[in-house]
């Protein structure tokens, strides 16, 4: 089974800055996540993607790291994106220290059993993910009523937006998750 519909690029074929950057990820993970191999044939796009990802996912303040992964897994579940469910499901398991949460959210993001704040985060993300044309003041009001700040609301919306892109890149390429992701964080 092919890992992508398009040619894969190994880190040592990348420009120096990306080779360094993806290499660092590979050292930490123990493998090169396939998304980087799949985007590598377009270095400028890979670089912008990494910058956007880091700006949202590694930013100080706002949502917790686990909450950001919750947004990713909820929207990827709603978009049926295998790569993002499996890769970010692994990260969510690690960040939340909960071995079941990612499977619960990916299987049914609308009804997964979550606390009130987490449910508000997931609902806000889902409202924007699938029928963005209906997203409106009522969605914002519900999020604020659950205690989300405007800064946190932007985090949820912007992460949802980035993974709307990321999910579609994975669907475009029929991207397969690295086998290492499946068992990660299952304890």
């Amino acid at each position: 089974m092919a890992q992508s519909r398009f040619p894969l690029t190994e880190p040592d074929e990348l420009p120096a800055d990306l080779r360094e950057r993806v290499g660092e990820i590979a050292r930490r993970s123990g493998f090169v996540p396939n998304i980087f191999r799949a985007l590598g044939h377009r270095p400028a796009e890979l670089r912008a993607f990494l910058d956007y990802h880091d700006a949202l996912m590694n930013r100080d303040g706002g949502l917790s790291k686990a909450e950001r992964e919750l947004v990713v897994v909820a929207t990827s579940g709603a978009n049926h994106c295998l790569y993002c469910i499996v890769a970010h499901g692994a990260i969510l398991r690690i960040r939340s220290k909960d071995p079941h949460l990612a499977d619960q959210v990916a299987a049914n993001p609308w009804q997964a059993p979550l606390g009130e704040r987490q449910r508000a985060i997931a609902d806000l993300a889902l409202a924007l993910a699938r029928t963005p044309e209906r997203f409106g003041d009522a969605d914002i009001a519900r999020a604020r009523a659950a205690g989300l700040t405007d800064d946190e609301i932007w985090d949820v919306g912007a992460i949802t937006a980035l993974f709307a892109a990321s999910n579609r890149l994975a669907h475009l390429a029929a991207l397969q998750p690295n086998p290492e992701f499946y068992p990660m964080g299952r304890g």
Copy 2:
């Protein structure tokens, strides 16, 4: 009527590189497109967004400039994104030298009267835009049958992905188009 649900940032409030970059766009356009004012409160995200945009929309080779805007207007029409329809509709009118094409595509991207190659581009974009989980080999095969190369297919898919994000950012902010965009390129 508010132009965004979140605070707007003027170019002179931006970090130097972005001030320069957005300033250059403003000089060419005659005004600061609201998307940059809306993203400016998060400079790292604005920078990555601009980089991703330029990597895909200004890249040498692949789709023509007008074809790239066709992808943007088709997917923004399907996503009912006012800002992107009006702003990129203006650009499409200019790039295609056709004063009606953008309105035709935005109103009904699935059935707008297009030539065979343009129809294949729009159909590929639409397949990925709204129900990405159904995107499959049959969509790729139809694009190839219409003569699209794999490089062009990636262009269509990646632009669709970027504007899946961009549309959602605009919906998140209830972003309004600058009034200057509406009449541009109408002859």
Copy 3:
């Protein structure tokens, strides 16, 4: 590009009463709107269509002229009907003296920025336009809560109904708007 899938009929090929009636519209507009050329091969249907249109759109009392066009543009936007969006968008620009309202409503009728009464009118129309089987007492109650009278509610519903037909006739014929409509009322 063909203007219709079916033969067009010029005013001087019509029965006398319709020739007179369509001629009067053409004199006022400066051109023969394509919908009349497209329906002309079936004079009895064209006559009934004109009668129904005039009964609803020119009636004394009830919704203002601009509000009636708002219903038309909102439902035509939801139905992705190019002809009706462009032709009635032009009329809405003229009636509302707002050069941007029609584009805003056509692009996203569900979330276009409108005053409370106009939003209630649009929401009532949209509820009936796309999933009429779910239309119920709650929709009526929301309209009344926004101050709409029963006579106005009927106006909204009946105009929505007429343009459910009109949109489908345009889709049946792949009807193209006259080029004159695109720039009208843009100031």
Copy 4:
């Protein structure tokens, strides 16, 4: 249970021409179909509706009378319109001399067991009824391949359009069928 959300008008409250016309229908049917009582508070609309109906349903040539009712019941089934299903189901039973056809088509218009020509008629109507923005050349081509002439295709499309309006008027009013319709033509 109310028969309509809006006031009903009895034939003797109608203008003379409509009193005559609805009276004639009542004499033939043995009762006043509720649609006429429901539209009667707006005589100009009722008159146009009757004219449009007669132009399409009583026209010489084109589809057979039973085929026209097939279009009505198929689209009314897809739109879940109780009044039109029951009233036109009765007429379809009579016109087709088949006591079960109307129930079969109303219950599942997409898969009701029909001959090839009838299936093509129903499919064409259904394509236009629910997602008119997707209606395209492929739908026309399938209808022609099944032997439908362009005149018959217009009949199917125009009847579908008229009942898109009619169904919505019935949903607007929560219109109830006269009890006489239910058992008619059941043998």
Copy 5:
């Protein structure tokens, strides 16, 4: 027209217990309902189906017999299942002593005119029938607010579940109702 896509089994071809059981139904009804002839080629499945059906539909306590048939007709209407609409519509007419209720519910289960308790039963069933992934605490709360006990809620949900299966078996087989069902209970 075939009554099923798969071979039919007559009662005397069934194992003794099923021959007896289906025979008893046939004696009471005056004919062998086609569902039993359609499932008979798999006796173990037919037996389990009958047991499940009887456990839910003939159970003491909980919903009334007419209310159980209301659930069946509402969900079968939403699922467009001809066999179940016609067969259980007949039973609902008999159980409710209302010759019109079944047609009203089958045509538009979401808006059929029902009393408050019946509406709550139908709404609960419909929430689970078509988009079960969205079914949640709010649906349960609405049912309880209308006075349904938890035991009655289970009845509604479990009957909806059984007929989710039953409808799909009928669609799988393109199962046709026995002609005897159509006029039953119409008075």
Copy 6:
């Protein structure tokens, strides 16, 4: 977090035959799957459910055991049923000896990478699972073209039907999977 919205029943509270039967499953699994605890308050329904399940899933001939679980996981994925995805995902991993297949199918049943026969099985199941009213001769023909026999087609359809019920029972109860299921068969 509650494991069900309704009271749970332990095996020793069940009638003797069910206590024996569920006990046997618990002995083989090492735990009592929650579905049996959730259905136990209605022993007749639990008994029929078990009989139906065994008739389809343990039957000799027809689909392989892994193929039957493929149908279950594909339809449960499409229905977003957490309990069935996790519980039957575990069984699919064991039956298929593939640690990733269940996650692939559950995440995106429409596009999971499968061999031709497995894809035909999944597509047939999915066609019936979500929009059964559109299921038709074309679906049957595609399955036959991929080599499925009518007996196998019935297996696919009947398992899809049973899990349409099973998924809805789990959604009704907000049923949580036993923690033991999550890591099973992951190697």
